[in-house]
Amino acid sequence: MNAALLVILFFLGLCIWLGLQARKGKEMTIEQWSVGGRGFGSLLMFFLLAGEMFTTYTFLGASGGTYRSGMPPAIYAFNCFYFVIAYWLLPPIWKYAKENKVLSQSDFYEKKYKSQALGILVGIISVVAVIPYLVMQLKGLGIIVSEASYGSISPHMAIVVAVIAVTVYVTVSGMHGAAWTAIVKDILILAVMVFMGYYFPFHYYGGIEPMFEAIDTAKSGFLLFPKQGLSISWFVSATIMTALAFYMFPHMMAGIFSAKSGKSLRINAGVMPIYQIIIVFSLIIGFSGVLQVPDLKGPNTDLALFKMAKLSFDPWFVGVIGAAGAMAALIPSSLVLTAVSTILSKNIYKAWKPNTTDQQLAKLTKRLVPVIALVTLFFTFNGGESILTLYLMSYSFMVQLFPALFFSLWKRNPVTVQGAIAGMIVGSIIVIYSTLTEMSLATVFPSFPNVIKDLDLGLAVLMINIAVTLGVSVITKKPVARADKDTNISNLA
């Protein structure tokens, strides 16, 4: 048992304790469990949404991407577009959810369009998209803990222990557990990242500017957007696509529902970008590895951060980094578990057996947590490459839910149930087909200029989806007559 391992175990224990603690003084109705009783103010929302946003990606993905491909993924990581979208989109969603007691993302569609079928379709699309996301978080966690413990714990072992821990506190405390553990995680990550992002360039290169100059000399063009491939056109389209898809994820929506007021969501949109500064440090860590640990290849590039850390620090500090990384995977996982079990029980089971009482539903939702955890574990250990393929699809999938949501917030919704369903199905099928055949705009239109070829495919599919949604809606007419008052989003139209 080494020092690193002790540190990781300590923080794991702290997480479980806080997660269990979080339910104190609250009667765990399904509304408390799934969306924290809609009582989270600005501060707790900040930690909760940051908890969803800063995942293993911030930790390994952003630094690894930068290490691998230089500036484009680095700048893509900021995505200020998220927050502008959040400012306009989230308060009206929250408001409708509160007025209509919406508990899950499928609920939202089901109630807006008064169609159980649409609710089920949304439920299926999001479960298919989000399970691979969960699997990737767990795989990341396995790698992080195993690296940080200097191999004394196998990735499998780490994943099993982590899943048991999450299952316990999610079952007991639901959304409350996720929010409180998010606070510890955010503080720890902030401290660790800022320290390393400052330390590496000064220790190895004598400063930040000398580091970038050295990289620029050694690898010309590494610090710029290239003319093709990860070009500016890729950056703009991928940024927009990701931002639109981001809030469609079931666990993000559940997070939004937990807010106390629309104002707390708007304040959050303004404050969250400051938190993005943490990513700057992650990028600098990635850049610092370029010349120091130049030999990482393929998936190992995501370990750039750990290679640098082991090269530079004592085991106990590597343990702290490992703990921060493990929590970066645990918190989003706990949110996903909460959201997915709510959808499965409320939108799918209840559709099948409509006379389930609220108490039975609450019980069932909690019992589903270990079941989903087991299914995820199975895929984590047996999924292989197909999981990665599904994961790459997850954002493109989620963005297909955007048109129906967006139009439903208009004062007069131009979209019919049939339109919404047709758009989602057509969009999803194209996403599956294009991912399986590795299609991109470059393969479909090889003679087009790079500006078009580099566009993100998800965004292109979204356009088709919107066209289908509106087209079918015009044909099926009989608009869903809903006059939603005070819907901010209508001003965008």
């Binding site: 500036m71 680095a74 700048i75 949109a269 969250m272 970008p273």
Partner: protein, 63 residues
Amino acid sequence: MKKVFLLTLIPALGSLFVINRVEPYIFGLPFVLFWSICWVGLTSLFLIIANKLDPANKEEEEL
């Protein structure tokens, strides 16, 4: 409401506008990176101001 909308439009467009050059270095950062980090800060600033002016906050209080 229009004013608020325009305020939020500025960071949305600004952050997507890339100035693709390494030099000059500012605070040790390549220009393209520094420029984007600036927009992170500006996004925050614009959204906070927008929220202060947003009539939606008043409407909510009246509810």
